[in-house]
């Protein structure tokens, strides 16, 4: 039984690293955010396996819930949710928006 749990734990840790790398490599911020939310959910299961249920509840509510909502709201507030603005690699500033606006 312990061996199975160890294998499960190693799988979860590998998926953590994969999620982190995917967050770093994704071009769109929207994609990075969604991957980061799944990263938080995997993290919650890792806390559970480390015998820390307090941390699991907090991480599931905060990391996957509130944090993600705040990031999405920021993107929506800046009207960038549909845009592929990534790292601004084309060197263009969005000219469609009035510069004078506060």
């Amino acid at each position: 039984m312990e061996d199975i749990i160890t294998i499960f734990r190693i799988l979860l840790l590998i998926s953590l690293i994969v999620c982190a790398v995917a967050t770093a490599l994704s071009k769109r911020v929207m994609t990075a955010l969604i991957i980061f939310t799944s990263y938080s959910i995997v993290m919650a299961v890792v806390w559970l396996l480390l015998r820390s249920p307090d941390l699991a509840i907090t991480e599931a509510a905060v990391g996957a819930g509130v944090n993600g909502v705040l990031f999405f709201l920021t993107l929506r507030k800046l009207h960038l949710i549909d845009k592929d603005f990534a790292d601004d690699e084309d060197g263009k500033i969005d000219e469609g928006v009035n510069v004078n606006e506060e």
Partner: protein, 125 residues
């Protein structure tokens, strides 16, 4: 090989390195904040894995009867991480608010460009 036994600590260190790389390389402010969050979770994972002891129980003791401390895992790292997780959210909210203000002024999320614009503004004045 201690590295093979310490796989949790190795994972947390790799996560720290990935987050730090995002902080350095990504020009987008939002991705920098995400990288900082990943650094956070890496540190938390390292702390919590230090308290784990194989085959011992969650530190919730029975209601009555004697308690043997050696039956339970170490609760101190948990307490430290528990407060840290909630504070990291307020931290990222503050960062996002600053991002909104920066975007309203400069219309871009690229930190290099914002820096350049700030410098030009200073030169003009």
């Amino acid at each position: 090989m201690n590295l093979l036994i310490n796989y949790e600590a190795v994972t947390s260190m790799v996560l720290f390195a990935i987050g730090f790389t995002m902080l350095v390389f990504s020009k987008n402010i939002m991705k920098k904040i995400l990288g900082l969050n990943i650094v956070d979770t890496g540190v938390y994972l390292f702390l919590a894995s230090m308290g784990y002891i194989e085959g011992k129980l969650t530190p919730i003791v029975p209601v009555a009867g004697p308690v043997d401390a050696l039956d339970y895992i170490n609760p101190i790292p948990q307490g430290l991480v528990l407060t840290g997780i909630v504070v990291s959210v307020s931290f990222s909210a503050l960062m996002l608010a600053l991002t909104v203000r920066l975007y309203r002024k400069y219309r871009t999320l690229n930190l290099d460009k914002i820096y350049e614009m700030c410098r030009k503004e200073d030169e003009q004045e």
